[in-house]
């Protein structure tokens, strides 16, 4: 029986590797989108202009309050039916990235609020513009306080990427590889244990990276 367990991996290594590659690609691209858009939205949310603040708030509430799976159904079949020739991987990465961006924005915003108001006032009175204040004074400090919440978000995003493969997008990601192999071999537990191992590699790497960042930059208390 334990031999069959390893056979499931060795016999289907190519399928698992392809699935792992697809998941890795999804995760990396979504991460970039989430960080860029998330930072932008966070900047909107703490901007002095109330309209920008509102815009940021609408973004966060929209993407944070809709289940990711529902978002996928809107972004893929919905857009395609509306005549937009979007591919499954683009729809998937965009959905996961924009969804995670809402959480990233909230984490960054909480970090910004941890920087005392006095510093911002001091910076402004010294002649820095608001964007300069944000870039030079506030965000570097905010970033340090939000490393661990951001890390949790990234790990959650890696796990959420499995929703893409399980959905109508029919992407051949790591979870899908496990399911296809399960349906071929009927070895349910080994198929998914090996898929889980693949996710553990990704989340493990993310954890190590976050630890590194924390030891280098985090605020020590």
């Amino acid at each position: 029986m334990p031999f069959a367990f390893f056979d499931v991996l060795t016999d289907n290594f190519d399928a698992f590797a392809t699935g792992f590659g697809t998941t890795l690609r999804i995760v990396v691209l979504s991460f970039v989108i989430a960080m860029v858009v998330g930072t932008l939205v966070a900047a909107f949310r703490v901007a002095p202009n109330p309209w920008l603040q509102r815009l940021g708030a609408i973004y966060v509430e929209f993407f944070r309050n809709i289940p990711l799976l529902v978002l996928l159904f809107i972004s893929f079949p919905g857009l395609r039916r509306a005549g937009v020739e979007i591919t499954a991987i683009v729809a998937g990465v965009a959905s996961l990235g924009l969804y995670t961006a809402a959480y990233v924005a909230e984490a960054l915003r909480s970090g910004v609020f941890s920087v005392s108001k006095g510093q911002i006032e001091a910076s402004l009175s010294l002649g820095f513009s608001y964007p300069q204040t944000l870039r030079r004074i506030v965000l570097p400090q905010a970033f340090r306080t939000v490393i661990s919440p951001l890390g949790s978000l990234i790990i959650a995003m890696i796990k959420n990427s499995a929703i893409l493969g399980g959905s109508i997008l029919a992407l051949d990601d790591l979870l899908k590889a496990g399911r296809v192999i399960q349906s071929r071999t009927f070895e349910t537990v080994p198929s998914f244990v090996w898929a889980a191992a693949g996710y553990l590699i990704l989340t493990g790497l993310a954890t190590v990276a976050i630890r590194r960042l924390e030891t280098r930059y985090a605020v020590r208390r």
């Binding site: 109508i168 029919a170 899908k176 399960q182 349906s183 071929r184 349910t188």
Partner: protein
């Protein structure tokens, strides 16, 4: 402010009560149907698989919820209906118990039997060599043919040979994954959970074709007449009821039930109701055995 809150709570409570009533109605409706059995029900010893089912009073049957005309959730009545469902009812009726239908998708139906979630699986399941090693099958109750469905205005797909480079949708865990890999190795396979997702993907243009059993595809054409079947038959797909391998008593019981069902006219009535009236086909209850069915699948897969 206070009154609105009270009204909201009242409305919620009322909703819950009404929802509860709805369920009761359904149950009592089922019981009424069941209280007029055609013949005396044979009682089995408690402790045997059939006796246990009788003692429990329900038999759990896994069916498709989204594959008309075999098993689908009727939005009007809120119950699951179809050819497979009628067969399931016949089994339950002969045992003198209530059928409890649960959704079994292609991907989870064999695990459902193995872990005891379902007693019987009636979900358009083709009898093939791999599956016979995992579970036991009843004698075939239907023989479907593998076909390809495409959009009428797509002239490029003329049959299985023209699928190279095209994306083709089928269900994860179905026999078509292997069939397509063999007959159309250059086609890009899109594997999804259910055929309703294949229909959606074909309609929104993210796949070029859907391949599965002709009857399932006919169900899609009934829903969307811009689609049509194209090309030759890919395979022959004899459907059988799935039962846990150890449960030979239930297997025998199901086979006897099907035998009676095929000969006493119920099969023909169900066929006409679910398939014949749409396709004009005549009922042809299969007479082959499980072994012959396995052979048939092997031959037709080439």
């Amino acid at each position: 402010m206070k009154t609105t809150r009270w009204l909201a709570i009242l409305a919620l409570a009322l909703g819950l009560v009404l929802a509860g009533c709805g369920e009761d109605d359904e149950e009592s409706g089922g019981a009424q149907e069941e209280s007029t059995p055609a013949a005396e029900v044979e009682q089995f010893e408690p402790g045997t698989p059939l006796g246990d089912i009788q003692q429990e009073g329900t038999i759990t049957i896994g069916v498709k919820y989204d594959v008309p005309p075999f098993g689908f959730n009727n939005p009007q009545s809120g119950t699951v209906e179809g050819f497979d469902v009628d067969l399931g009812r016949a089994i339950a009726e002969r045992l003198g118990v209530e059928p409890e239908f649960i959704e079994a998708i292609s991907d989870n139906r064999i695990p459902f039997l193995q872990d005891g979630t379902a007693d019987v699986i009636l979900s358009t399941m083709t009898i093939n060599e791999e599956r016979v090693e995992q579970i036991a099958f009843s004698d075939p109750y239907f023989i479907a043919k593998g076909r390809i469905l495409h959009k009428k205005d797509d002239t490029e797909i003329t049959g299985v040979d023209a699928l190279a480079g095209k994306s083709v949708c089928t269900a994860l865990g179905s026999t078509y994954e292997a069939t397509l890999k063999e007959q159309a190795p250059e086609a890009k396979l899109k594997l999804v959970d259910s055929y309703s997702e294949c229909l959606e993907s074909l309609q929104n243009g993210s796949v070029d074709a859907v391949s599965t059993d002709d009857v399932i595809l006919t169900g899609m054409i009934i829903q969307d007449d811009t689609l049509e079947l194209v090309g030759e038959e890919l395979t022959q797909e004899p459907y059988g009821a799935g039962i846990r391998t150890e449960n030979t008593e239930l297997l025998e019981f199901v086979n006897e039930t099907f035998e009676a069902y095929k000969t006493d006219g119920r099969y023909d009535t169900a066929f006409e109701k679910w398939i014949g009236q749409y396709t004009g086909a005549q009922p042809e209850p299969p007479t082959i055995s499980v072994d012959e069915a396995v052979e048939l699948v092997k031959q037709s897969a080439g």
